[in-house]
């Protein structure tokens, strides 16, 4: 038996797997974002019970490893009788993970909107829903952009954990190619470079957005 070497076709395989990493990230951000948004609203609501529930949820998600969320949803789903492909368990757990962190990030952004904005909009007889829709959220979203993009980098990186339950994304593809070529250093450095190519522009974008935000607010 001759070993394969790490060449163009292997690199192509990594590129293909990178698409799954990106897809998983997008799924996590969309569903995790939706859930996180609801939790962030609950965390800043006037109801004590809602605030407590949201705070507990955030503490819980931020207090357990992503790997455990993954295992629990992987085994939990099969326990509930669903024979689902790993993409579902991976997507669901990434979304749950992202929701816990996005909720906390966005809570901070909602609370960063000056209190006078609430008071002014209330004095204009806006309903709470209108206050959020027309006054608070447009400002909060502006504030939330840099940290949200920054967190997207964390999500991209953490999707690598799904390789442990056998989901073939970039890190898993690296392991598979390493098993065929046995050139671990070359393979995993290539994998790292591909992650870097995705993450670094996002990190820089987050930095640029943050600078721009500060320029705006100091006027």
């Amino acid at each position: 038996m001759t070993l394969r070497t790490f060449g163009f076709s292997e690199f192509g395989f990594l590129l293909q797997a990178l698409q799954w990493t990106v897809l998983l990230t997008v799924i996590a951000l969309i569903f995790g974002g939706a859930l996180g948004f609801v939790v962030a609203l609950a965390r800043t609501s006037r109801s004590n019970a809602l605030r407590l529930a949201a705070a507990t949820y955030i503490q819980l998600i931020q207090g357990i490893p992503v790997l455990m969320i993954l295992f629990l949803s992987y085994y939990g789903l099969s326990l509930a009788g669903f024979e689902l492909p790993p993409l579902f368990a991976a997507g669901a757990s990434m979304a749950i993970y992202a929701s816990g962190y996005l909720a906390e990030i966005w809570r901070g952004c909602i609370q960063a909107v000056p209190k006078q904005q609430w008071e002014a909009s209330e004095s204009l007889a806006l309903s709470p829903l209108q206050q959020y829709r027309y006054v608070i959220l447009p400002q909060a979203i502006r504030i939330s952009l840099p940290p949200t993009v920054g967190f997207a980098v964390q999500v991209v990186k953490n999707t690598s954990v799904t390789s442990i339950i056998g989901f073939v994304e970039l890190a898993r593809a690296g392991t598979l190619i390493n098993n065929a070529t046995f050139q671990p250093f070359r393979v995993f450095v290539a994998v790292a470079i591909l992650y870097f190519v995705v993450c670094y522009p996002l990190s820089q974008l987050s930095r640029v957005l943050e600078k721009r935000l500060h320029v705006g607010s100091s006027r």
Binding site: G63, P65, L67, Y75, L79, S160, S163, F185, C199
Partner: protein, 234 residues
């Protein structure tokens, strides 16, 4: 769904779980200590050195922060032996965790150093502090105090991320869970139990770090405005 939980099935494996907890704690403790110290050193080096050193440190920080911890572990554990360094799974985990955490703590402490006002350093010079005294009392300690909460979050995240070391067969808590699962097939019970253990560890670590912060920076933080007062009135 008619699943009956049988947590009793895990009882014979108490020793394995405890050994896992112990290794998780050990890895976390050492990497937090080393990573925190190295971060402080690199951040202050970065602020006092020339362009070349700064470039190297920045490159290191960006490379680590923009690649997954899992892949870093793979490079240390599978990649280094090819270059002639053979490391065990425990050592590889410790190296990986320290390298990773150092990059984050460097970045966090750097932000703290940049937030130190230049007049503070000038005041230190005016008081006849040596360069080292200024670096220690005026720059590093107040900088770390300023960013201490962010640093703590990163430490807790590292403890949680140590679970990923199970992928390179480091026998820490997550690996212990996988082992018990393979022996008992009570997957859900094992992972619920271990998740609760991680949650407890995270809460305890957060509490301990908060106490440490109070002890290290609490009084200093209270005294700082007072010390700045003569400067303001003058």
């Amino acid at each position: 769904m008619s699943y009956t939980f049988q947590f009793g099935a895990l009882l014979p494996y108490k020793a394995d779980i405890l050994a896992g907890i112990w290794l998780t704690l050990k890895l976390s403790f050492i990497s937090i200590l080393l990573g925190g110290l190295a971060g402080a050193v690199l951040a202050s080096l970065r602020s006092t050195s020339g362009r070349a050193v700064r470039l190297v440190i920045d490159a290191y920080v960006e490379i680590i922060r923009n690649t997954p911890f899992l892949v870093q572990l793979f490079i240390v554990y599978f990649g280094l032996p090819g270059l002639g360094f053979r490391v065990g799974a425990d050592t590889a985990a410790l190296i990986g965790m320290t390298i990773n955490l150092t990059a984050y703590s460097t970045e966090i402490i750097r932000a703290g150093i940049e937030a130190i006002h230049k007049s503070q350093i000038e005041a230190g010079e005016a008081l006849g502090f040596t360069r080292f005294q200024i670096l220690r009392h005026v720059i590093i300690v107040p900088a770390v105090g300023k960013v201490y909460p962010a640093l703590c979050s990163q430490f807790v995240l590292m403890m949680l991320a140590s679970s990923i070391c199970s992928a390179i067969s480091t026998p820490e808590l997550a690996a212990a869970a996988a082992f018990v699962e393979s022996q008992t097939y009570r997957s859900f019970e094992v992972y619920i139990l271990v998740t609760l253990i991680y949650l407890t560890l995270a809460l305890v670590l957060r509490g301990a770090l908060a106490l440490l912060g109070l002890w290290l920076f609490g009084r200093r933080a209270v005294r700082r405005p007072l010390a700045a007062m003569p400067e303001v009135s003058a």
